[in-house]
Amino acid sequence: MARGRRGASAAQVAAAILVIVVIAGAAAWWALGRSRSTATTTPAAQSQASTASATPTTSSASTTSAQQATGTNKKIKVLVLFDVGGKGDLSFNDMAILGAERASKDFGVEVKYLTPQSTDVMESLLRSVSKSGQYDLIIGIGFLWLDPMTKVAPEFPNQRYAIIDAAPQKPIKNLAAYVFREQEVAALVGILAADMAHNLGCNKVGAVAGMDIPPLWRFHIGYLYGVKYYDEYTHSNVTLVWTYTGTFTNPQVGKQTAEQMIKNGVCVLYGLAGLTHIGMFDAVKEAAQGGAKVVAIGEDASQEWYDPYHIVLSGLKRVDVAVYDAIKSVVYGNFTGGIHVLGLKNGGLGLSNAEMIKYFAELAAEQGKLPKGLTPDDVVNIVMKEREKLIDQTAWNLVHQLEQEIISGKVKFKTPANHQEYQEIIHQLEEGNLQAALETG
């Protein structure tokens, strides 16, 4: 026994673990089998799979109304696939839940959620849930699902898919891609930012942006358009400082960038960088506590709760509306693949209002993230008071005016196809040529 006791014992241990795994697996198999034969009231995934695959979906073609779909036929089932962040990100994923729950209440559909373990398994996971055939609609939240969706969707032509905030190169028949015309909300924010800067006694508004990619180009164009729009009516000479941080996930960088901007005289900062701009919020808070007159603006979700005294506004990218619309289309049987653009007109974009501020403040409170001593109602009251102090009625009037122009189609933003086009539009806007940002005609 030259190899010693350790060798023998370790091999034995290996065998022991193997045996246990096998026993556990067998037990599990048995338990699953049992549950399958007994479960009739709560349809387990496995028991559904076989019946559902025969008739893949509650056929929307034959369903003429929502009542029929929910009343006589089988309950419609929707699966929401979260971004890797999952529930509780107080942004994208939580808004998706908001939309799905509202749809569930309105249409009586059954909503299930799934958070992937990591990005590399998304494709396998999507293929597996598609194969099960038990969902009438599978919704992927965020651009990370784009690749898996483009690969898997064509393999299951009878399965309906939706993806939020991303679109494939070529449209896919059974994949509905919901994207946003970010220029519209950014333009409204631009007007209010310029007015706040004016009232704070400075002439620079800024943005801490993420990566130099198409959605951010659209934000930039809209924001600058709004500032210039305000200028045209008030001649206040507010200028825009736009900074790409190159990251969506680094609050430290966001904070440093914001500090630098504040030092250079920027007094209104718009956060367009996901997690990175949380650092911008911190920088604004510290500067304000040090006596500087600065405020911040959030984006995507209603982020006022984070610091209601200094975050007075958020631009909303209504993931909830996109999710709701996607589910609704399946319920009403008018699901179509291809690209669906959301904007101010169909409620996919907007400015944060009391209802949304409160909703996200409540979510934050549930997670214990609300600033100490504040209730969700406090947050709403504080923000509304700050808004009254900082924003004039004329600015709101301009916002409503532009909003009407956008909704009526009088103002329609151009979407730059490449970087050069984007820079050309920005250059023209800087010169005061507002028409450059719009579709001609």
């Binding site: 014992s9 290996a14 795994v21 338990a31 387990a44 995934a45 990370l144 690749d147």
Partner: protein, 338 residues
């Protein structure tokens, strides 16, 4: 204690801890008003829905587990499998995009992992830099380098959320068993671990390595170059983790996303696998399979039973920690003696 009774007690410990872990898991599931037995059953049979994911995770965790285990024989604690894994993946991806084929990407990925980890070993031996600290720092350096390159040099202009994909010529084949397909990385991992076991148990160098870790002073006086063996053990660890990263890219994920999710966590989870497998290359294999199965299962229970993924991950954590405790104690007491 006789050998027999040692085996018996070890088996009893594994059985008891596993039972305790499963019981805690069932209790957690019950806390979410989900049927406890069925939740645990779903988690333990996740390979039924996602065979390829379980196979791939098993392969990766077995290799990174071994990357923790090998330096332990030489008395070192290698936390750097994460960094070696990611560097191996990054270099393999780069090489595959540049030259295609399999030889260059795998060789360079493995070499990069070995060099990185070997550096930490060299720092320990030459300059007495604690290898736990240096490997953690190297992990972060690699991580930020990876994120930078993924979003810049390697980015796919048409899919800015990820890098360019590994060309067809550089992809490892998949194995078809009946109607299921699994990546061939699992075969590579099993073969490598078998070779490693033979090396550690049946060769002179393996003996010397274990000797160097067990008693540094005695080894030195008997002519074993302890320093050399320590650096070598770290290099081998890096080699294993680098290989894992390389074949993960070439055989499974084919690209890295901008948040690095495709290559995150394997190294750190490998530590748990090594402890569960009592630091033995063969016992690490079932430990890795168990960990991979549970990890995959934790996201499956969410849509079926409404148990949040966080709760699933918690259950995985409890089971792994309980199974790892005995070996962790053993290692910690060794560390204190050091």
């Amino acid at each position: 204690m006789s050998l027999r009774s040692r085996i018996a007690s070890e088996t009893a410990i594994v059985l008891a801890t596993l039972a305790a872990g499963l019981a805690v898991g069932a209790a957690v599931a019950a806390g979410f008003h989900a049927p406890p037995l069925r939740v645990m059953a779903t988690m333990l049979t996740s390979w039924r829905s996602l065979p390829d994911v379980v196979a791939e995770y098993s392969a990766m965790l077995a290799l990174t587990g071994a990357a923790f285990a090998v330096p332990v024989y030489a008395g070192l604690f290698n936390i750097g499998a994460e960094g070696s894994f990611q560097l191996g993946a990054l270099v393999a991806l780069w090489a595959a995009l540049k030259w295609g084929g399999l030889a260059a990407p795998i060789a360079l990925g493995v070499a990069a992992g070995a060099l990185l980890s070997g550096l930490a070993g060299w720092l320990r031996v030459r300059l007495s830099v604690n290898e736990v600290l240096s490997t953690i720092m190297l992990n972060w350096i690699v991580y930020w380098l990876l994120l930078y390159l993924v979003a810049t040099k390697l980015e796919d202009p048409y899919n800015p959320q990820r890098t360019l994909e590994v060309p067809r010529s550089s992809r490892l084949p998949w194995i078809t068993i009946g109607s299921t397909q699994i990546p061939s990385t699992i075969v590579i991992a099993a073969a490598v671990l078998a070779v490693l076991w033979v090396f550690l148990r049946m060769t002179r160098w393996g003996l010397a390595l274990r000797f160097a870790g067990a008693n540094e002073w005695t080894s030195r006086t008997r002519g074993v170059n302890v320093g050399l063996y320590r650096v070598a053990s770290m290099a081998v660890a890096g080699l294993l983790a680098g290989l894992a990263g390389a074949i993960h890219i070439l055989g499974y994920s084919h690209a890295i996303d901008v948040i690095g999710g495709a290559v995150k966590g394997f190294g750190y989870n490998g530590i748990g696998v090594a402890l569960m497998g009592r630091n033995d290359p063969l016992a690490i294999i079932p430990a890795a399979v168990l960990f991979a199965t549970l990890l995959t299962g934790s996201s499956l229970v969410e849509p079926i039973y409404g148990v949040p993924k966080e709760a699933g991950d918690f259950i995985v954590g409890v089971i792994v920690v309980l199974l790892a405790v005995p070996e962790a104690f053993r290692l910690l007491s060794r560390l204190r003696r050091r």
